[in-house]
């Protein structure tokens, strides 16, 4: 459908960035040596994980840096003007008019005290002061139509908080497109949205860019989303361009080891393989050395990589494909991502006849007077991995919290190993409560910041198994080894650890309780893709050792790669359930079909 849209035949150069460098005020580089061009009507994606500098580049295109940083040098040419050289008033006229910006978090990007109409009118007043009231109104109505929002007065007089997240993001799009800019910068505009909403917003963006010949710079951490929308892709790592290519070339023949790693790390709904993590963590600003930034995590690294910074070299004069790696294989193999059809080899076979570990019967719950769970019943077998899938508000987290005993309002019955289980955690005996453990979404708040890793682990051990305390050293070391952490971090405080490490410590704390059921609530959504893959691998290995897993997620790719069975939830009810491959390949309910269709994927269907 997208391909049928009319593309302008001779696209002109809309944006040119040359040798852009941004540093902290103390001189530490954030991004270096960034050069690229975007043609009118095309979408360039800047892809990278946290710390790659993608947002820094995005705002630098409007000559803006966050507090404490500055643009050292470089050129950003838009419509013949170098944006970085303008005085304050000239820059103001360019911002929003020539280059506009769509921020990341729609809920905080609008002034809570003024209406939608006021927002749009303020932009028009700033950039098109000549318009009379009628023209202004026409322009506002038109802008809302373009982003597929209602445009009657009632809607115009709403305040930002009265809109859904998707609507807020569309208002921000309208604010950016209303002036017909030549360049639009989108900074992860769909991260906060549900999959279905995200798919629709992306479609709108792509349509508008092509229709009006707007060049777009699309910042994202999600390669699958990028594949859906971008014409060209720049892969960023540690503040530098690792690889630059057309979208087709990048996904069919990624050359940089990081690009390859990134693609292999994505759990994809159409792939039956377990994602492969990239070992290590993204480097901090201060720890970047003289050599290739990726060298510490690179499997192909040579001695030379440590000392010399690789330049971004085009593969050939003809091709628009450039890589910054001195150690490219002579014949880069074509990456083959094939949609497999059979069940994945990794599935744990579950015997049908055994007694269920957990039974949930007629579970319902309400929150703030609204019923969020309606009569949920399901069961879970020993060693099985069950995925709870749904969009925000579907009740998936509420179910998992109720099983963990964290929902005071829940009603219904739970049976664990055939015995009735109290609904409140406080009502459960230690013999039960140690068997059910919960890992939270946000690793940064899962550990007491005033306790070292050792204290956290030992407090747990002391609570359940005081007799084990006599060889506390071994207990801690063993627990950390089990989650592939260096036992030497035992005396670190949480703030000294990365998100991935924190999540591993949380898992270690759960494991010292010797659980038989582990509830994982979106445990990877706060993590980078490459780190996520490592956590998924760990969870899978725990399952192989007999642990039952309930995995809550909105990401169908993760569901495909680690779960055995799936429950699809919508508005607090189970819509569909079944064995994972059957359900994902032959969905029966329209809602499930929609979810699957809207899931971004790196595989061509």
């Amino acid at each position: 459908m997208l391909n049928q849209l009319h593309v302008q035949p001779q696209a002109s150069l809309a944006l040119e960035v040359k040798n852009l460098d941004v540093s902290l005020n103390d001189g530490t580089a954030i991004v270096s040596d960034i050069s690229f061009t975007v043609l009118a009507g095309q979408i360039l994606a800047l892809v990278g994980e946290s710390g790659s500098g993608k947002t820094t580049i995005a705002t630098a295109l409007l000559a803006h840096t966050r507090h404490g940083a500055r643009i050292v040098h470089g050129e950003v040419n838009v419509a013949g003007l170098n944006v970085l050289r303008l005085d304050q008033e000239a820059l103001r006229q360019v911002r929003g008019k020539q280059v506009s910006y769509v921020p990341q978090n729609p809920s905080t990007a609008l002034n809570p005290l003024i209406t939608i109409r006021s927002h749009l009118a303020d932009v028009l007043r700033s950039h098109e002061p000549g318009l009379d009231v009628a023209q202004q109104q026409a322009s506002i109505v038109n802008a809302l139509k373009e982003v597929e929002l209602p445009h009657e007065d009632a809607f115009l007089h709403r305040y930002p908080h009265q809109l859904s997240g998707g609507q807020q993001q569309r208002v921000l799009l309208a604010l950016s497109f209303i002036t017909r800019p030549s360049v639009i910068v989108l900074d992860e505009p769909t991260t906060a949205l549900d999959v279905t909403t995200q798919a629709k917003v992306l479609l709108t963006v792509k349509k508008l860019c092509q229709h009006y010949g707007v060049a777009a710079v699309y910042v994202s951490h999600d390669l699958a989303v990028v594949k859906k929308i971008a014409d060209h892709v720049i892969v960023l790592y540690g503040g530098r361009i690792a690889e630059k290519a057309s979208a087709t070339a990048l996904f069919s023949r990624p050359l940089h080891p990081y690009s390859q790693g990134l693609i292999n790390a994505i759990p994809d709904i159409h792939l039956h393989t377990i994602p492969v993590p990239i070992i290590g963590n993204a480097p901090s600003l201060q720890s970047r050395g003289a050599g290739c930034v990726f060298e510490p995590r690179c499997k192909r690294a040579k001695l030379e990589c440590k000392t010399s910074m690789p330049a971004l070299e085009p593969l050939s004069a003809r091709e628009d494909h450039a890589v910054a790696c001195i150690n490219l294989p002579a014949h880069a193999p074509q990456l083959k991502i094939i949609r497999s059809t059979g069940p994945a080899s990794s599935r744990v076979l579950v015997l049908g006849s055994q007694q269920p570990l957990l039974e949930v019967k007629h579970l319902s719950a309400s929150f703030d007077g609204k019923q969020v769970l309606k009569d949920i019943s399901f069961h879970l077998k020993k060693g099985e991995c069950l995925a709870l899938v749904g969009e925000s508000g579907s009740g998936k987290t509420t179910i998992s919290r109720a099983i963990a005993g964290l929902n005071a309002q829940a009603l219904g019955s739970l049976y664990f190993n055939g015995q009735a289980l109290a609904l409140a955690a406080r009502g459960r005996s230690a013999a039960f409560s140690h068997q059910i453990q919960y890992i939270f979404q946000n690793p940064y708040q899962s550990l007491n910041p005033r306790q070292t890793v050792r204290q956290t682990l030992l407090n747990t051990v002391r609570h359940y198994f005081p007799s084990k305390l006599k060889d506390s050293h071994e207990v801690v070391a063993a627990a950390l080894k089990r989650v592939a952490l260096d036992p030497r971090i035992a005396d670190s405080f949480p703030k000294e650890l990365s998100g991935g490490e924190l999540q591993r410590v949380s898992i270690a704390r759960a494991l010292v309780c010797e659980p038989s059921l582990l509830i994982c609530d979106e445990i990877t959504s706060a993590l980078d893709v490459s780190v996520q893959a490592a956590i998924l691998e760990l969870i899978k290995s725990l399952q192989r050792n007999g642990l039952a897993i309930i995995f809550v997620t909105h990401n169908l790719g993760i569901v495909r790669s680690i779960s055995d069975r799936v429950l699809v939830l919508k508005h607090g009810r189970i819509v569909e359930s079944g064995e994972v491959d059957t359900l994902l390949d032959q969905p029966r309910q329209p809602y499930t079909k929609e979810l699957i269709n809207d899931s971004p994927s790196i595989v061509d269907i």
């Binding site: 954030i30 710390g51 966050r66 404490g68 901090s284 600003l285 963990a404 005993g405 964290l406 955690a425 406080r426 459960r428 230690a430 409560s433 140690h434 919960y438 939270f440 946000n442 940064y444 708040q445 899962s446 550990l447 007491n448 910041p449 005033r450 407090n459 747990t460 609570h463 359940y464 703030k495 704390r509 309780c513």
Partner: protein
């Protein structure tokens, strides 16, 4: 110029000056009685005589030595302000933690009572109790502490509520840790910094409150020497012998300033630390 700028920009200079002032006043108040050349109630000259040899700061409304009375008159306000601030903190933190953690009915009752008490301005509340029950120093200190409690409850409760949303508290709850362990080991250490900063602020309030009370004549009873009382006693001599008023006012102000600066300095230092960790997370 640069040094001046440096001074006003640094939180450490706030802490240092605060520490210096506070400890100076503490020393003066504690050691004063031993250093004073005269006893507190000793008449040395005519009323309101100006400073002269042997009478460094002149005399007061009765002809007592102002310098000696200043040295004698600090200890009450110092110990009373420290005691009331500490007591107010402890009582408020206990009630606030209970309210913020157990929520529900308990919370409603505690916070409702606190709100009722918040409708009484501190000074009015203290005045009411002192006028009815007498001016015993411990009684005054306890009343001042109680006047502080509702504020501490609100602060602690708010902090405890925001901390209880953190997942590590839910983990403790899920594992069934005893309540006192959750309150003391998981919550309290994480809200201690703002509470200690509040302690500093309360200290400066109690200095103002207690000296104000003495000034109104409901605090320390004459003929005992006390800074706040001295201002009241000597207000008739403002134009003749300003030192009898100026010096006690200055000492009260410096003590309040010192404690205030400590609270400010630590407050900003810790919030700066929080900010910088946030920045590095985003980078």
């Amino acid at each position: 110029m640069h040094a001046i700028k440096q001074f006003f920009y640094s939180n450490n200079s706030q802490i240092n000056v605060g520490l210096l002032l506070t400890s100076l006043i503490l020393l003066l108040a504690i050691l004063g009685p031993w250093l004073a050349p005269y006893a507190a109630q000793e008449m040395v000259d005519a009323r309101y005589s100006l400073p002269q040899a042997g009478i460094a700061l002149g005399t007061d409304y009765l002809g007592q030595d102002v310098f000696s009375r200043v040295l004698h008159g600090g200890i009450s306000i110092v110990w009373m302000s420290i005691a009331s601030a500490l007591l107010g903190l402890v009582l408020g933190v206990v009630l606030g933690l209970v309210a913020g953690f157990f929520k529900g009915r308990v919370d409603q009752v505690i916070i409702w009572t606190a709100d009722i008490f918040l409708a009484f301005p501190h000074l009015i509340l203290v005045l009411l109790v002192v006028s009815m029950l007498g001016r015993d120093k411990w009684l005054i200190a306890i009343t001042v502490a109680i006047a502080f409690v509702p504020g501490v409850i609100r602060l602690t409760r708010g902090l405890a509520l925001s901390i209880s949303k953190h997942e590590y508290i839910e983990v403790a709850e899920m594992m069934g840790y005893p309540h006192h362990q959750i309150l003391l080991r998981e919550i309290l250490p994480n809200i201690l910094t703002p509470l200690l900063i509040h302690l500093g602020t309360m200290l400066s309030w109690s200095v103002a409150l207690l000296s104000g009370l003495s000034f109104l004549g409901y605090g320390v009873a004459p003929p005992e020497a006390d800074w706040g009382l001295m201002v009241n006693e000597n207000k008739g001599g403002l134009q003749i012998q300003p030192f009898s008023i100026l010096v006690p006012i200055l000492l009260i102000a410096l003590f309040a300033l010192g404690t205030n600066l400590l609270a400010e300095g630590f407050g900003r230092k810790f919030s700066r630390i929080n900010e910088s960790t946030e920045v590095s997370e985003h980078a």
